[in-house]
């Protein structure tokens, strides 16, 4: 009498998973099976648009927290969080003297789960700190040295842009804190040499006896769109904060990440 062996059946969830991953829909999205062998570990990096900014393999020191502190990656992640929460905030916020303040108050009073402004503000403060610490780490490991000089420079520009993004966003709640912080900050611009009306040499900037640089025509006026922090400044800072600066920093991020790869990946001893 022949005995019949019965294969133990896999648990239902496993069978369901196997079924899903064999459907045409799944295989059309993921072009290979899970990255559990070397071949698929290569393929997952090459075929996924989000992962392909990574190399397939990298130095062991490059994945160590003790070496990278993860600060560059966290900065990028915070930027993504800020983009997303900022987008949500734009649904509720109108950059006019009439509505700006009350819209911000309304975010807390009327919007369900209204922590988006908190996440945006604390995320922004955190990003300033992580960007500084990223620069600190890159300096302390000497990672700006050849061949990475240019990428260090891209990074410095992005550091400045991060501060400008935070600075322009600081005005938008249109409360006393915002307006006076921006007033103190932007007052510096009127002392710009040659280009600010209280700057050294501004008095020499005349053409045929007509002064070119005066209170209503200088660096500060260009920044604020007015002689004080008012309607013009609010609109300018809003557009810079939501459109112009994120576009520029996004563009530079692409360059930065590309050059990390092209300059030999995360730095390590030569």
């Amino acid at each position: 009498m022949a005995t019949k062996t019965i294969e133990p059946k896999a648990p239902a969830l496993v069978r369901a998973w196997e079924w899903i991953t064999e459907t045409q829909v799944w295989t059309s999205i993921f072009r290979h099976t899970a990255p559990i062998n070397d071949r698929n570990r290569v393929l997952v990096m090459l075929s996924n648009v989000f992962l392909h900014m990574h190399p397939v393999r990298l130095r062991k020191s490059g994945v160590r927290l003790r070496y990278t502190w993860c600060m560059g990656g966290i900065s990028f992640f915070l930027f993504l969080v800020l983009t997303f929460t900022g987008l949500l905030l734009m649904f509720y916020y109108r950059p006019t003297l009439e509505y700006a303040y009350s819209d911000i108050v309304g975010l807390r009073e009327h919007v369900p789960l209204g922590i988006m402004r908190e996440m945006h503000r604390w995320g922004a403060h955190a990003m300033v700190i992580t960007v500084w610490l990223h620069m600190f780490r890159v300096f302390m490991t000497g990672s700006y040295k050849p061949p990475r000089e240019f990428n260090w420079n891209v990074g410095v520009i992005m550091l400045v842009l991060t501060l400008l993004l935070s600075f322009t966003g600081y005005l938008l709640p249109w409360d006393q804190l915002a307006v006076w912080a921006i007033t103190v900050g932007s007052n510096m611009a009127r002392a710009t040499p040659l280009a600010g009306y209280e700057g050294p040499g501004a008095a020499f900037m005349t053409l045929g006896g007509v002064p070119l640089v005066h209170q209503a025509d200088d660096a500060r006026f260009a920044l604020l769109g007015g002689t004080l922090v008012g309607e013009g400044a609010l609109l300018r800072f809003y557009v810079l904060h939501c459109v112009a600066l994120p576009l520029v920093i996004g563009f530079l991020m692409a360059v930065h990440f590309w050059r990390v790869r092209k300059d030999g990946g995360i730095s390590g001893p030569l």
């Binding site: 990298l58 966290i74 992640f77 604390w122 700057g199 030569l270």
Partner: protein, 358 residues
């Protein structure tokens, strides 16, 4: 307790604060072998925690520290001191290996690992932790919103956003055209110049101190002392009328501080030579202009001959002059601070005719 608080407040003074941060950094760099030990790292963190814990029992302390926008700066103090200690520690450990004839530890980690799973999982965990911290922080602490904007009502003190408070602190010593425009511009230019003026091929891609002594010391002085510690000072210790207050001191709007700052021209013409100030600005300021030219033009040349001749040899003229000029510009802040503190000097050059005060 109160005695301890008033003792700390007694020492609260911008001069002492600056002297303490500078000597702390000098000590950490000089005695780095000891500073790099784990007990020092732990000790530093525990000390900070105890200090802030103790501070939270004081209502004046809480009033300033617990302002929602100031919370990140408390985090910055912890993070910055930790990472300063940590990077020095890694540097010292590698220096010991190099001294023993071994390569830096990063060299031993040159083997390649798979991005999946080694890196992507680290990234995933970092993202999750970040998100949790941010959400908890956002639930616990409400973003600040004050009274609606009012151009007729100036708060006292009026402060810039916290990351610019180091620059605002510079306004005590320099006019806006320097503190708000030229020097910040030079910070950016200086940072960008670093990879081109630093010709030292060593220390590329690993922690070390001994192979890059001057570079690291200068950077730490600029980043930790001049940039970060002045932010802390400007945020926590500057109150109404930009007066200096101890951490446990009440921000009294009526606190008076005698201001008896004197121009260099007055020192020389009036007090030194016993004459009236000359009418023409150029003659009046001739000494200050001369001193400034001496600092930016003659000093670099003199240093190239004697003092920094080694660097002149190594860097060549172009790199040397850019480096020294940037370095002197960075030192101009502590130099001006010292002049203010020792001589009550207001301006070295003061030509209000052209808004040119140095």
């Amino acid at each position: 307790m109160d005695a301890l608080k008033s003792f700390i407040d007694l020492f609260a003074d911008p001069r002492l604060f600056f002297a303490l941060t500078v000597s702390a950094l000098a000590l950490a760099v000089w005695k780095r072998e000891a500073f790099a030990s784990n007990s020092w790292g732990w000790g530093l963190m525990v000390f900070l925690t105890i200090f802030f814990g103790f501070g939270l029992t004081d209502e004046n302390f809480v009033l300033i520290i617990a302002k929602p926008d100031n919370v990140p700066i408390v985090a910055l103090i912890f993070l910055l001191l930790f990472f300063t200690w940590y990077s020095m520690r890694e540097g010292v450990l590698n220096d010991r290996r190099i001294a023993a004839g071994k390569p830096p530890v990063e060299k031993d980690e040159e083997d390649r690992v798979w991005t999946w799973p080694d890196l992507v999982y680290t990234e995933l965990i970092a993202m999750v932790v970040c998100m949790v911290v941010l959400i908890v922080w956002s639930i616990v602490l409400e973003a600040p919103i004050e009274q609606p904007a009012n151009n007729a009502n100036t708060p006292n003190p009026s402060k810039a956003p916290w990351y610019f408070l180091g620059l605002q602190e510079m306004l005590v010593y320099f006019d806006p055209w320097l503190a708000g425009v030229v020097l910040p511009g030079l910070i950016v230019v200086g940072l960008m110049a670093i990879p081109y003026i630093d010709k030292n091929p060593k220390g590329n891609g690993y922690y070390t101190f001994n192979e890059r002594k001057a570079e690291i010391t200068i950077f730490l002085f600029g980043f930790v002392v001049l940039w970060s510690s002045l932010i802390v000072l400007g945020t926590f210790l500057r109150g109404p009328n930009w007066n200096f207050f101890g951490p446990f001191e009440y921000w009294d709007i009526h606190k008076l501080e005698a201001l008896t700052n004197v121009q260099l021209s007055e020192y020389i013409w009036v007090r030194g030579l016993g004459m009236a100030l000359p009418d023409h600005w150029f003659i009046r300021e001739i000494f200050g202009i001369g001193l400034t030219l001496l600092y930016v033009a003659v000093l670099p040349v003199a240093l190239a001959k004697k003092g920094l001749a080694k660097y002149y040899e190594k860097l060549g003229p172009a790199r040397y002059y850019v480096t020294v000029l940037l370095f002197l510009m960075m030192l101009s802040l502590p130099v001006k601070m010292l002049m203010r503190w020792v001589f009550n000097l207001k301006y070295i050059v003061s030509i209000p005719e052209f808004f040119l005060n140095i």
